[in-house]
Symmetry: C2
Subunit: 346 residues, 2 copies
DNA sequence: CAACATATGGCAACTTCTTGCCGGGCCCGT
DNA sequence: ACGGGCCCGGCAAGAAGTTGCCATATGTTG
């Protein structure tokens, strides 16, 4: 009376084999198959090998989803970046990716296009699937971040949110190096070209530069804020030319590059008329003419450190919420900085 | 003797609510809750609303994994790129990302670091979790790709594999435009700087360039292969200087940029001594001095087209395996090309 | 050789959600 | 007024694994 499905031997409709199929073929119970894969040692070595052979013959592969359900471990991490097309994120992505892969984790990438709404939606969607989150250049408020961090282990990058572990670059020593370099070249006055107001990093960079310049150092001035893009740099260039200083430090490389372009486009020479320093050493900093002197951040390391800490937390370590994890910076000297023009060196 | 866990009422250990909790609180059965969320219309509007309210109060959220298990739909796509730090991929990633998100899909990114072994492992791991795959710049053999394509819907980028849908840029018209441009500037002889031998794109570019140059066109020569990186470009520059031609077309922008750097570093002028054209218009092509003339590919569109087709296939459309989907290219004229030096124009 | 410890496999319950089928209540047509 | 359909909610059987607990078989020890 019931509909009779002929399902025997239809090759087109074979679904992928399960542990039950393997179990039957190997003459053991499904639980033994399960253990043969997920609990090495728990099952007799010979039995295990036989099971693996049978499984291989059948083309069996564990469905991670089904495994994840009972144990609650998806082996996935979310990496949320504000802009996947910003070279700043490239190495972070790869660093995170590598560290995750090495630990058997898969990364789920979300590009939020600089929008905190999109960012929230992305989190909404990915959060239940992942075990942990890395937030790079988040555009959300501290409090939203803290709320989210309660639901899953989280690490934020280049930003400090109390109560949430973070990875930042050593801005302080980077700033000092930049100032020392400039001073060594005879500059006694420089301009800081500020990035977005909401950026934690921007505030820090300005603060540390001022700090480093205190005392015997050069005088500092600040213009901005400007959007941290090439276009922002062009804007900044115009502003700078109205009140020039012989040296300028930009919030980031993109801004610095845009700025240099504008200056050179208006007949100024870099570094003869203006010495320019950026931050981050992104792809492109060494391509422009002249090559950009910049405070390099080991972006790859930022990504891998973040994932490393996240994984540690997932394995029971206490999240480091007191002080941020800091990765070292270094000054890369290229051609965009030179001796102060009013004092032509021999 | 055993450690006593007090777990009652411990707020830290509450697991997230399930449809059962919601069902109980709302006084309906779990299946009704399930339907209230996944089968709109199937359940009475008032009941549905009540359920949603209760669910919201409880902070319930569907666990996509658990949903995926019975229906076999994970709403995830894998995007496999050869090198996540290559600017070539940035816009592809974002294009894919956007298209996927718009359709409610999440993308899982895998960086294979130019290794076909890593690529295979990445596929191994991600394949069972995703509904479809986009392969950008795969380093695997055609046959391996075909085998994988049997397991999941797949689209390959910038490569044609018979039997597998693909998205490619319009190389032929791009090549023609490049040649016409060069000819218009008076060049009657140029060098093609080849990329990796295994690259399908490289073969095509060379073929189409030669084709476009046939007849009244300029004479063409080919050097290489070189790795498609800045360093490869430096190498290529050395080779070119041994047997110069006034114009050169490089496999991609990275190579072109490296090449220009080498030439300029050795006292040659671009475009006065050498006109240089690249392919792709990656980030950085407009940054270098002189700005690089290049055959631009709408990389964002490549990514979104690929995902678009993939989603169509998942929704039952027939995969387009006969002819590749092609996106248009255009020539972006910048400062790296100029009139042939032996014929100084007024 | 008996008593106990250990290794190994099986049973069945559990993870969260979906869905085919069933049935009670209500409305409608005749 | 009564039978036939709809509408809507519930039951229970999956989807593919994991794992606590138990039952053997085997090994070890006194």
């Amino acid at each position: 009376m019931s509909g009779e499905d002929s399902e025997d031997g239809d090759p087109a409709e074979r679904r992928s084999p399960t542990i039950y199929d393997v179990a039957e073929a190997a003459g053991v119970s499904p639980s033994t198959v399960s253990r043969a894969f997920s609990r090495p040692g728990r099952v007799n070595a010979r039995t295990a090998e036989r099971i693996r052979d049978v499984a291989h013959d059948l083309g069996y592969r564990v469905v991670p989803l089904a495994r994840a359900l009972p144990v609650g471990r998806t082996s996935m991490l979310a990496l949320v970046v504000a802009d996947a097309t910003n070279p700043f994120h490239f190495d972070i992505i790869r660093g995170a990716q590598d560290a995750a892969t090495k630990a058997g984790y898969t990364v789920l990438l979300a590009d939020t296009r600089e929008s905190d709404l999109v960012e929230r939606q992305a989190l909404e969607r990915t959060l239940p699937m992942v075990e942990g989150i890395v937030l790079a250049s988040s555009r959300m408020s501290d409090s939203t971040i803290r709320v989210t961090a309660k639901q899953r282990p989280m690490v934020v990058l280049n930003r400090v949110v109390t109560g949430v572990p973070s990875v930042v670059t050593d801005i302080s020593s980077g700033a000092r190096r930049a100032i020392d370099h400039l001073r060594g070249l005879g500059h006694d006055r420089f301009t800081y070209v500020a990035g977005p107001e909401a950026s934690w990093t921007d505030g820090m960079r300005w603060r540390e530069l001022r700090e480093a310049a205190r005392g015997a150092g050069p005088k500092v001035r600040r213009i901005g804020p400007f959007p941290p893009t090439l276009e922002g740099g062009v804007e900044a260039g115009r502003a700078l030319r109205r009140e020039p200083t012989s040296a300028v430090v930009a919030y980031n490389d993109l801004l610095a590059i845009g700025l240099m372009g504008e200056l050179i486009g208006h007949g100024h020479r870099v570094p003869d008329d203006f010495s320019v320093i950026g931050f981050d050493d992104i792809f492109g900093a060494q391509l422009v003419t002249p090559g950009l002197t910049t405070v390099a951040a080991p972006l790859y390391q930022v990504g891998s450190t973040a994932v490393g800490h996240l994984l540690a937390v997932l394995n029971g370590a206490r999240p480091q919420t007191e002080t941020p994890l800091v990765v070292p910076t270094s000054l890369i000297r290229r051609r965009s900085t030179g001796p102060h023009g009013t004092d032509p060196v021999a």
